[in-house]
């Protein structure tokens, strides 16, 4: 018997309409854990660099994490991976909600989709019964609308639906997959799903997930719940409210947006409004929140309530989570009333809440600069909000200028030319970033931005504070019960870190310390993404309930595998390295590893080189950022070095 996992994947060939249930190799679980790790292995084995995002051979993998469906609190994430149409590198995006546990209860760890259907179809997985069904009547329907229609059609209100909207059908490069109160948004996986002619995956399961050592496991789960309660009662002092608690983060609960609205930039990642958050704004925005929120919501088996049911009078209900509350508002220089309204349409269309508003703000800047003209924007309204709606419709329908903008700022700027490229200023590896523009180079963030395979800072940063505490007392108070650190040296790094002077950014933490801190943070993310744990209870917030010390116990008790901190560290590094090697094989190299040029005003080329060199060496990579043969051998991945050698990427 397999524990925690089901031991089976579903293989769907949409070209041949073939469905197979395939047993997986338990040795892969020991090496790569599950979720993102085992998906990366499948992609490495089967998606060679010649395969393009919209090739029939490209795979689209929906994977549950290793511990999804077990009683582990907050472990509900579906990891969706494929080749991104935008970056042409691996895209992996996670969603919470209910899909992954339901998939496990249906008896599968992953759904691996290949080929393309000529007609629009949806996949209905109901335990051992799996059907490819006609979806032509759902063409053009919104994601939320589609989910409701399908649940009625199959007459099962407990089924869970992951669907694309019009954006996915039209292969918008930043189309998302939406699933009730969550979505897998980054990297354009919705476009790949649309290209495959797959409107939705619907799942319902009634089978058992087994736990190897039940008594031990349930005790660990109780400890986590109790610690969540402790953290609720003891928020972290000396940080903005959004960073003080747990969650992914709790944008629906928290009304105080001083930090986001004043630190992050407005428009096309341009303007910082340092005195924006007045009492008047605070009162108005609180009222906007309270007016439309009917209920706070959680994902499967989680008490955090990061989502909410949103009811704006006159438009249909949808569920919101996280930062999309602010991205449209800030890109359009508008207010929350507008934000709550436009996100409803964006959710039905199925588009990424980070990239989409930025693309629209980019288009409006080009228009103001005269690079795009009235000829390109026929019939565009004159007000900012009206323009955002107009652009959104054009983009998801790929109409006129929308067809160009639908490929994101990098590709659109290239196509538009005439100086447009300078306006696509907030990308890393062709992918739009958080709208942040800051002063002094930050060594931790420099390394994370440059080297993170996810290309999305919220999925790389986390457990180490973003900036030093103001006073020695604050620092000491913070480290006092900081048991999550993998090693006590991290406490000292924080104690010594100053706001100003010798031990402040950019020179402190030193390149070596930076490498160690980044390694800890990304290690946590790679473990979460393999187990299916929500980052909001683990890798993302300060002092989380899951950490390097209790994770090995969770994995051992759930699976029966013999796991310890060293082995888990090794598995996380293996997964991190495999995705790096996959991207290297697709042409990524050191020259791509840089932050947006204007991310920091004060830059230090020599220090930056040293930071990258030190991190690469620490990671076991050569100076080109390619994993070395020795390091790959240490990770039991000789098959990777052989492949890289054959392709001349490793000498």
């Amino acid at each position: 018997m397999r524990y925690a996992e089901t031991g089976y994947n579903l293989e769907i060939d949409l070209t041949r309409k073939n469905i197979e249930k395939v047993a997986t190799d338990p040795r892969d679980t020991e090496l790569y854990l599950g979720g993102l790790g085992t998906s990366a292995k499948v992609l490495w084995d089967r998606v060679t660099p010649e395969i393009k995002p919209f090739s029939e051979e490209n795979l689209l993998i929906f994977s549950a994490g290793l511990l999804c469906g077990t009683p582990a609190v907050g472990c509900n994430r579906t990891i969706v991976s494929t080749i991104s149409p935008q970056t042409e590198l691996m895209a992996y995006s996670m969603m919470g909600g209910f899909f992954a546990p339901e998939l496990k209860y249906a008896g599968y760890d992953k759904v691996i989709i290949r080929g393309k259907s000529k007609k629009l179809v949806y996949l209905w997985i109901h335990n051992d019964k799996v059907e490819i069904r006609d979806a032509s009547h759902l063409k053009g329907k919104g994601t939320v609308e589609t989910a409701e229609l399908i649940k009625k059609e199959i007459n099962d209100p407990k089924a869970h639906v992951a669907a694309i909207g019009l954006a996915g059908e039209n292969k918008v490069y930043y189309a998302s997959v939406e699933q009730g109160r969550s979505s897998a948004s980054r990297g354009g996986i919705g476009a790949v799903m649309g290209d495959k002619g797959l409107k939705a995956i619907v799942v319902r399961g009634k089978k058992d997930i087994n736990i190897a050592r039940p008594g031990e496991y349930i005790e660990l789960c109780d400890e986590v719940l109790n610690y969540i309660k402790f953290r609720e009662e003891n928020p972290i002092q000396g940080v903005p409210p959004i960073l003080a608690g747990l969650g992914s983060p709790q944008e629906m609960k928290i009304h105080d947006e001083k930090w986001h609205t004043e630190n992050f930039t407005w428009g096309n990642a341009r303007e910082r409004r340092k005195d924006f958050w007045t009492e008047e704004v605070a009162a108005k925005w609180s009222e906007s929140m309270d007016k439309v929120q009917t209920r706070l919501l959680s994902c499967y088996n989680c008490p955090m309530q990061c989502g909410a049911s949103i009811n704006v009078p006159g438009i249909s209900t949808y569920m919101m989570k996280c930062y999309s509350k602010l991205t449209y508002t800030m890109a359009a220089f508008s207010d929350l009333d507008f934000g709550f309204k436009i996100v409803q349409r964006a959710t039905e269309y199925g588009v990424d809440g980070f990239t989409t508003p930025q693309v629209m703000a980019f288009a409006l800047e080009l228009y103001e600069a005269g690079i795009l003209t009235d000829k390109d924007m026929p019939g565009m309204p004159s007000d900012s909000e009206g323009r955002f709606y107009w652009l959104l419709d054009k983009i998801v329908n790929r109409e006129g200028i929308g067809d160009i903008l639908a490929n994101g700022t990098y590709w659109a700027a290239k196509k538009i030319g005439n100086g447009a490229q300078a306006y696509a200023h907030n990308n890393i590896k062709k992918h739009e970033q958080l709208p942040l523009k800051l002063g002094m180079l930050h060594p931790l963030y420099f390394v994370m931005y440059c080297t993170g395979e996810k290309m999305n800072i919220t999925q790389i940063e986390g457990n180490f504070p973003q900036s030093p505490f103001a006073t020695q007392e604050d620092k000491e108070a913070f480290v006092k019960d900081w048991f999550q650190v993998p090693d006590d040296k991290f406490k000292q790094y924080l104690l010594d870190w100053e706001m100003r002077g010798e031990k402040s950014i950019p020179n402190y933490p030193t390149p070596q310390m930076t490498s160690e801190i980044v390694d800890w943070q990304e290690r946590m993310h790679y473990i979460d993404d393999s187990l299916g744990m929500c980052a909001g209870l683990s890798s993302f917030p300060l002092k989380p309930p899951y950490h390097m010390h209790n994770y090995p116990k969770f994995i051992s008790a759930a699976t029966g595998m013999d796991m310890d901190e060293d082995k888990l560290t090794q598995a996380a590094r293996r997964n991190r390295t495999l995705i790096r090697a996959f991207n290297i094989r697709r042409g990524m190299s050191r020259k791509d590893e840089k932050p947006p040029e204007d991310h920091w005003r004060k830059r230090f080329p020599e220090l930056e080189k040293e930071l990258l060199d030190t991190y690469y060496a620490f990671r076991g990579w050569n100076e080109d950022g390619v994993p070395t043969k020795e390091y790959l051998h240490e990770l039991d991945m000789d098959y990777v070095s052989q492949d890289l050698e054959q392709r001349g990427l490793l000498k």
């Binding site: 469906g69 077990t70 009683p71 609190v73 209910f98 209860y105 939320v144 409701e148 209100p157 407990k158 009730g180 109160r181 399961g205 009634k206 089978k207 058992d208 997930i209 087994n210 736990i211 039940p214 008594g215 496991y217 349930i218 719940l225 969540i228 309660k229 009917t294 209920r295 706070l296 919501l297 959680s298 994902c299 499967y300 088996n301 989680c302 008490p303 309530q305 049911s309 009811n311 249909s316 209900t317 569920m319």
Partner: protein, 183 residues
């Protein structure tokens, strides 16, 4: 089999506040884990004795406990409108019944019923209440005198439904064969 007794006893009450529910279904998950054999050895919400009726677009979140098994469907169904939301009568029904597949073990088809997490030593609160961190489910013990119909235990309920479905003779034959094989 069923006899009436009058006794002073502690009544266990789970209070449900649907306005507080956050729709996480932790109650379903822990219920299925608690009733697994051995305890906590597996999870499967389809086997839970609590079921969250969730209709996100009408803002309906109703945790419902499995009640008695009934071998016949109701004649006719009523429809209720509360606060502009429409519910059919079955929405609130706790019975395991032939007209729907709720509260039946998906493997055996046998009816499931909430037992308030009967355990030795007894739990402080049923597990669903412990797992509900938003206080949609709370637990109270009320002392009261009552005339009580002693209900058959779980195995008997199961056997009764098997007898209803297959007839006494077939069940007896199967039992005899199984016990022989077990010997």
């Amino acid at each position: 089999m069923v006899e009436d007794v009058i006794e002073k006893k502690t009544v266990k009450v789970i209070k449900v506040d649907v306005d507080k529910c956050i729709g996480c279904r932790a109650c379903e998950l822990v219920c299925s884990a608690f009733h697994a054999e051995p305890k906590y050895s597996s999870t499967n919400p389809a086997k839970a004795r609590i079921r969250l009726i969730m209709d996100e677009f009408n803002d309906i979140y109703i945790p419902l406990y499995a009640g008695e098994y009934t071998d016949a469907e109701c004649n006719g169904r009523n429809v209720y409108t509360i606060d502009g939301k429409t519910y059919d009568e079955c929405t609130f029904c706790r019975a395991s019944c032939p007209s729907r597949d709720f509260f039946k073990d998906p493997d055996s088809g046998l009816p499931l019923k909430c037992d308030m997490c009967l355990d030795d030593p007894p739990l402080e609160e049923p597990l669903c209440v412990q797992a509900c961190r938003c206080d949609a489910l709370t637990y109270e013990e009320v002392e009261q005198e009552e005339e009580k119909e002693e209900s058959p235990d779980e195995m008997e309920t199961g056997l009764q439904s098997l007898v209803k479905k297959h007839g006494t003779k077939k069940v007896m034959e199967s039992l005899a064969r199984i016990s022989k094989e077990a010997d």
